[in-house]
């Protein structure tokens, strides 16, 4: 039994019971972050802020949304958009944040790839991050079903059809996932459950894992330098703040993060009020109709690159290529054979690999939306082959990379 004394203040009272002073040190003032970083290191905080925006707006949407095939569309477009006070605001914030969160995730991912932040003990950070990417994808997809518009319905139809596994014809599995022969009531309610409960729970758990995975290897820095955090933090605490290579998480790192967040929010709210169209596909403002396919079916922009990998091949090869593209990023720390954990610019062929991958994924993204005809079809096919080729080349080019 611990020794409790009469508290001298509320802070002291809480401190005796919850050790808040220690918690604050561990999580904030004595959680050490390298000083040698740039604004790209703030993407994590931006993601946290965006996730909170999604959570809060989602809670208010949940108050009036009805997961019923007959009323879902009207509960969103009439009740929430017309009747609920500021309902339109929650919806636009939710829709725009759901799209922008993927932009930030991609920037966050490519920052990690560029600076080698998945190596030397940071593998679990990368893997938990990729699991978060999968969870966010599931969250985005299930959420896209809920307004029950034409794109909701047909995206649901096409994506669940993927589980038939091409020539395996696992139609039973597809029907099991849908709870019906086609997307219908059972389908909508279960995706509603996934969207508002199961997947968010998984995301929150994975965020905990992602943050936890950072503690032992520490945050990477611009030069991939291995910092003696013990010694540097002593230096800082001794008063040599300018000379130390580390900074406190709060408020040093936090203040820089919040500055980037400040700029980001200007961009974000500009999109919410004046440029929301990209995040809310017009086709989804037509109610779901199982007997009428939209002229063009395409997923939201952040899924286009993997959709395009599926498309140019015959069904079975396409599915295999698609499955490959979904899991291969997780294996990045093990496919990169080089011992160097430095920025890509100092890493021989990997430098070219990085930019080729980025440009290839943008090409795939663009072709994924365009109709698969003529030149677009060819570019899409080439880009898909290049994507697979780049991953096959990765272990080879990094194996021969010179140690710096």
């Amino acid at each position: 039994m611990a020794n409790f004394t009469k508290a001298t203040s509320i802070y002291d009272w809480l401190n005796q019971r919850l050790a808040i002073e220690k918690v604050e040190k561990v999580l904030g003032s004595e959680y050490w972050i390298p000083k040698n970083i740039n604004f790209l290191w703030a993407m994590g905080m931006i993601l946290v802020v965006t996730f909170v925006l999604l959570l809060v707006s989602g809670i208010f949407l949940l108050m009036y949304y009805q997961p019923n095939v007959d009323t879902a569309f009207d509960s969103v477009n009439f009740t929430i958009m017309r009747e609920v006070g500021y309902g339109w605001l929650w919806r636009h914030v939710h829709g725009v944040a759901a799209s922008v969160v993927f932009l930030i995730i991609y920037i966050h991912m490519f920052t990690g790839i560029y600076y080698g932040s998945y190596k030397k003990g940071r593998e679990m950070i990368w893997i938990s991050g990729m699991l978060l990417f999968v969870a966010f994808s599931a969250e985005a997809f299930s959420g896209y079903m809920l307004p029950w518009g034409q794109m909701s319905y047909w995206a649901g139809m096409v994506i669940t059809n993927l589980f038939a596994g091409g020539s395996l014809h696992a139609d039973g599995l597809v029907e099991w996932i849908r709870g019906d022969y086609v997307p219908a009531q059972a389908f909508l309610t279960r995706f509603f459950m996934l969207h508002v409960l199961l997947v968010p729970l998984a995301i929150i758990g994975l965020i905990g894992l992602h943050f936890g995975a950072l503690r032992i290897p520490h945050v990477n820095n611009l030069d991939g330098e291995e910092i003696d955090f013990e010694a540097e933090s002593k230096k800082y605490l001794a008063g040599d703040k300018a000379g130390s290579k580390v900074i406190r998480f709060s408020n040093d790192f936090m203040s820089k993060d919040m500055m980037v967040v400040g700029f980001y929010l200007v961009f974000f709210f500009y999109l919410v009020f004046y440029h929301y169209g990209f995040a809310m596909d017009p086709v989804n403002f037509d109610p779901a109709d199982g007997l009428k396919t939209p002229a063009h079916i395409y997923p939201e922009w952040y899924f286009l690159w993997s959709y395009e990998i599926l498309r140019p091949f015959s069904t079975d090869i396409g599915l295999m290529a698609f499955a490959f593209s979904q899991v291969i990023f997780v294996a990045l720390p093990f496919l990169d054979r080089s011992p160097n954990a430095v920025p890509a610019s100092r890493r021989g062929l990997f430098k070219y690999w990085f930019w080729a991958m980025l440009i290839d994924m943008i090409a795939l993204t663009a072709m994924g939306k365009l109709p698969p005809e003529g030149a677009f079809s060819t570019i899409g096919f080439v880009a898909a082959v290049v994507f697979i080729g780049l991953w096959i080349a990765l272990p080879i080019i990094t194996y021969f990379e010179k140690k710096v």
């Binding site: 000083k35 740039n38 604004f39 790209l40 009207d74 477009n77 009439f78 958009m81 017309r82 500021y86 339109w88 605001l89 636009h92 932009l103 920037i107 703040k241 300018a242 900074i247 408020n251 040093d252 203040s255 820089k256 919040m258 500055m259 967040v261 400040g262 700029f263 929010l265 200007v266 709210f269 500009y270 919410v272 009020f273 004046y274 169209g277 990209f278 809310m280 017009p282 086709v283 989804n284 403002f285 037509d286 109610p287 002229a295 063009h296 922009w301 286009l304 980025l358 943008i362 993204t365 663009a366 939306k369 365009l370 109709p371």
Partner: protein
Amino acid sequence: MKELFILGVVTVFTLVTYYLVEPFAHHTLHKHVESEAFAYNDLSAITKVGDAARGEELVMGAGACTGCHSINAVGISAPMDAVSSAAAYGVNPPDLSNAGVVYDEKFLNALIKNPAHALAVEHKFDANIGEMHPMIPFYGAGGDIDQEVADMVTYLQSISVSSEDLTPAMAFENACGRCHGLKYNQWTQIGNKGSFKHKRDELSFDIQVLDYKDSLKAYMGKLPPDLSMYIRSRGEHYISTFVENPQNYFEGTSMPRVGVSADTAEKVIEYLKDAGDTKRDEREETGKYVMIYIIIFAIFSVLWKKQVWRDLH
């Protein structure tokens, strides 16, 4: 400086991706139709000066308009209710009280002489093989047909409300609302649904709507869609150019060219905005304040960072 360069790189890649998946893809996926500002260039203009008094005689007499159409403004009611009219003609013929302001003058001129041509549905109603449009062409009352039609159009214009008094709802209901429902405004093809004290009255109204829709479906080939969210699903430009001439987008569609004037089209768009983008003014207004606030937020975040980092450099 290096940080600004990196920001530039991130921005360029983001914008290129945005350009490719939004403006460029949309340009490739969707046909772009330029508006002709409701000029109806293929129809000929009225050359004669119309006389409203003679026009009235023709409308009531030899023109036989009131055989099918009501003109509520001068106390002439329809020979049949909406549901029976639809059963007879496929669709309820419009009330002519405000036809003179809702529809374009050139269009009315052409419509009276040759409905299928003015409505751009000759692919559906080919008089040569006996497929007649339900509206019978006016073959003239013995005099100069151009003069007679000009008189009728002038009469219709004389009894209409002024274009300032034509509300968006009136424009929509007359030009679009006999085929298209708009349930977010309680509008059905046979009028406003309103509220009912007794469930059975409501059900009997619903049955009338269903009967009307059945006739309409048989006439049009498919039930014309509800337009509640069209301003979001199609957008202003598409709706405007579609209404101008549906054949622009779907060759062979059974939707007729409605022949509204440019002013009426604007009002219809406004009506659709009120239905599907009701809070647009609130969005603009709130947007301004949020942007001002968030810029102040950003300024303070910079100031705080500067203060915290003063000792760290």
